[in-house]
Amino acid sequence: MSDLDHIVYLIKELYAPCQTSETILNTQKQLQIVQKQPNSNIVAHQLLQHDETNIQFFGALTYTVYITNNPVTLELANQISEEIVDACRRDLQLLVIQKLLSNMAKIYSKIFYNPLDYILNSLENRLNFDIDQTLVLALLSSKSIPEELLSSKISLTTEQVNDIINNIFKITTINILDNSIPHLKGDDRLTYLWLNCIESWLPFINYAFFDFHIVIDINNYLSIVIDLLINDLDDTALAILCEIYDTNTKLINEENKLKLDGMIFSNWYREFIERKDIDDVKNLSKLFTLYLELNLLPFAQYMLTPKYALKFKFILSLTNLYETPVLADSFSVSLLDFWIPLTEDVLSQMDSYSSNIEIETFFMILADNYWKKSRLIVGDEFVDDEDDFFDLTNLEEFLNYRRDVAELFESLYSINKSVLFGHITSKLITALDTKTEDIEMNCLKNIEASLFCLHSIAFILNENNVTEDFYQSMDKIFSCNLLKRILEVRDFNKLEYTRISKKFKYVPFEELFQYLVKMTIKFLSEIKWYYQTNNGKKYIKDILIFLFNFLNVDYYRDVSSKAILQITDSCRYELSELLNDFEASAHTMFSQKYNIDSTIRSRITRSYANILQTVKEPQLQAQKISNFLDLMYNEVQLSYNLINGNINNKEVLENIDNFLLSVISCLVGLAKGLKIPEDWEEYYLNNNRQDEMINNFNYWNNIDKNEFKVHEKCLKLIDLFSFPNEYINDLKVNKLLNSEIMEEIYLFFKAGLTEPLSGPFVIDSNLILTYILKCCKLFQQKLIPKHINPPIIKIIELYGVLIKSNILTSTISKISGLDIKSIDLKVPIVVNEIFLKPIHQVIKENDILTAEYTLFADIISTYPKYLIQDGSIIVKIMSLSIEQFSINCQDRFVIIAMAKFWTNLIYLRKGKLEDIHCIKNILINEKLGISLVYSLIKGFLNTSRSIIEFYSDILRSLINKFSKDLKNWLILTFDSINKERIFNGKEKIDEKEIELFIKQLLITRGQRSANEIIKKFWLNATSMVDYGM
């Protein structure tokens, strides 16, 4: 077998049907080697001589590879043109000739030489081609050039672009286009190629226009393009016009615009719609919308003039063509891009219109159309018989479209306000009035669509912008028994489902009903402004019962729990009568354990907290909370008890963990939800509620201890969560101080500690302190499982909150006159337990270190004496901190904590004279000052750009308070650092620079200007570039 025969064999194998991918890949590899050979142009020529089209095409393709990989010469260009002429002579398939022509274009993009005239002359003179045959080839040839030029992404010069336009387009192509025009009529193939040629040149014409400001007038041809669209409904003509309106409308002149205007505002489109498929109609609607968008301003300005009023009516009729957007009607979808900005423009010009009524009427028709167009497409459109299935992609697209419709309704509301709301309300009422047994798909869709539109408007309404008319509309909706009707439909259809489901695989009614319920719930959650009215209050209980009803069904839990929370957040006082219902619902959330999503459990607990907060009698509140805590305790205990039996079942263990976390986070939600309002002074003292305040205080401080024991139960629950291994017999997993649980426990205590007055979750600070010390012991004994978030951090932070709370207590005691006692914080003991005893664990974990020093910073800024006056503690704390500036210079969080600690310590704003003396003594006489500055500067020179500011803070505080000593400390420090540098073979820092730096620094007296000096010095010393910070 010769080489050529082998290549032919390989090509045949490549194109043979049913080849394995392995064979194809292998064959391709071998052929690619052939194509990349230096003489592949010879192989290409030989292959073109073969009888089979596939082989010939591969020959043309081999030329393409050759042109790509080799320098292009005139000789090669002439060789290809001869191949084209020869291919035409042998009447090869068009796809082979087309590939050769694109090779020709490829050559042009490299050497700007195009022998098209020679080819065309050869065809006419040597081969006696008729004009039609020649034109086909010419058009194909011309269209390949811009395609190749743009796809090769070569950057052209102005001269080159001008040359292409003046020669290839304005002479060759125009000649071909002009010569083709008389032959277009009746020749579909030539027409297609003619349009295709223009379509291919358009991107290049735009490129020349936008990048080189070269204007090319193609309006003569666009006029024919429009004619072809009007007369032949040509798709390519439509695509060209869409492209022009989408990219560069400057290409079309007034005359053609008028022609297009005449076409758009006529009944011409009807024929197009009747004869074309949905994709073509989609393109037509796109062209219409692009055209209208461009004329938005005159439309908004002159909409009441007879000329434009007629046009408006016409566009309105276009938005009302079919019943089903996305599936069959693309006009209502596309035209939203015209209507939404139009309504906004009209709104901004409302004052200038002669008749607002006409405008409102007009937009009401638009609203009507889109109300119809927002009806859901689930159901009968898809399911005609049992073989049809629901198409989710269409539904998703439809729901996206509906989001835009909602936007339109928001804008329409701005124009038609309550009239629009009332209008849609009447549509809802009409649909609701249908007898239950007569309700069918359409009726459900009408109800759902009305609720959807009303919901879109209600979303932007609030107490400040609703008027009486809105309330009246709402009254009508509820007096029509909206909720009862929906429940009736459900009950009626339960029977129907059973009947229908035997017949169909898919039951659209059920799907539709689900959407209806979801939309009703969403609507109910958006009308909070109505619940504040007397009439609204009448219905609010029914609404909540309706929501509770659907909370029991898994499918609706998410949306209904969200609605319940939203409503109780704003209307808790109106719902206090439903306390027992809320209680029952909240309890279900816990008794159903793993079947309830934690987000939903949390929402319902928060709702319950909202309602519990409205209970005036503390006894009743305590009773309810106590019940809730009992339930929680039992469920938590049961869950812990399940662990041992499922030790190898990862899924069950995960469910248990999730449930436990969910319970504790609900407890936090309850504690936060029951907090006294932040403006408690206003609430109690300025509203003559002092008795209530005293009553509550006494109850939670004294009486409850002997009644419902809420605080005791809280602590019992917290203990169970924190130390389950102590409470559950032989628990096989170490659950002590679980990190995630501890985060919640911290939040729980914090909720109480930040309360101004006693309440159900304000636990005695002494008991919290005992709890903290117990946790510290576990930490010291290394009994807590390792975790990336060490739980001890939360204990450290909790102690910080306790300190702040102690200060708050004394303030509140003064304001309220109540006897609220602050506690002995036992700072030295706690610091010993939390820091000094477990010091080896602390220094191993930067996160713990960070938390410890943040705490110390807080203590220094509140009760400095407790840390400072026990001299040994503060020295240890300071010494450990000093090391960190160089050891952890890259750890942002450690340095932030250290900076906070040191600045607080140096300024010592709450410090007494003896505290200040003590610190001075340590820094100056005990020489910690020089150590500090040495470590500080060492770390500073090695830290990152974004951490410099924290080093600056400490330097500034030192300048401020220890300027005299600082100068000396800095000199000694830089001296040491430079010695070390020399020792390590590094370049030392310029002494003059150091001198200047110290001088400039001290002059600032610690003011903000020091930051800039410090930054500059860092940039110099580290040879970094300043790109601004």
């Binding site: 891009d337 709104l347 901004s348 729901l399 701005s414 987000t599 790109y1027």
Partner: protein, 160 residues
């Protein structure tokens, strides 16, 4: 009626967005209480990419355009306490294309910004921590990180 540069650009952005926006995303100006548009403040939503732990949820954003937009970038924020290593506790996003000092260019449009943020969701930059919890979990405990992200996705589950 003459408009300032910022408003002109925002109008253009809006038009462009309507013409071409990625599926499942939304972005629109907010409404003032009288129903008129507040062009300078938008709300937007980004769907989590399918096949990632962020999927099946649309994450809400607020976009506010400063007076000197587009010379300066818009301020784009998730809700406060949004769980992601590169989102500050306030919800502000730490992303170079949103930073005037870094990669922001006036030519960047809303679509690119939102696509960039969508990309950031599943490919956080561990070198630019903006919040400690998510950053730590992402760097040290992928399991915990995934759990928390999925829990958050529940909160922003796609709505009908």
């Amino acid at each position: 009626m003459s408009r300032d540069l910022r408003t002109e650009r925002i109008q253009q952005e809006r038009k462009q967005w309507r013409k071409d926006h990625p599926f499942g995303f939304y972005a629109k100006p907010t409404k003032k209480s009288d129903g008129s548009l507040d062009l300078h403040n938008w709300t937007a939503g980004i769907p989590g990419k399918q096949g990632t732990i962020w999927e099946n949820a649309t994450y809400p954003l607020t976009i506010s355009f400063p007076e000197d937009y587009p010379a300066k970038p818009p301020k784009i924020k998730f809700p406060p306490a949004f769980y992601h290593p590169n989102v500050y506790p306030s919800g502000t996003i730490c992303l170079s294309i949103l930073n005037e000092e870094q990669d922001w260019r006036p030519a960047i449009n809303i679509k690119s910004l939102l696509l960039g943020i969508q990309e950031l969701l599943d490919t956080p930059n561990p070198n630019s921590p903006a919040q400690e919890p998510a950053w730590k979990a992402f760097s040290k405990s992928p399991e915990e990180y995934q759990k928390k992200v999925k829990l958050q996705a529940q909160q922003y589950k796609d709505k009908v």
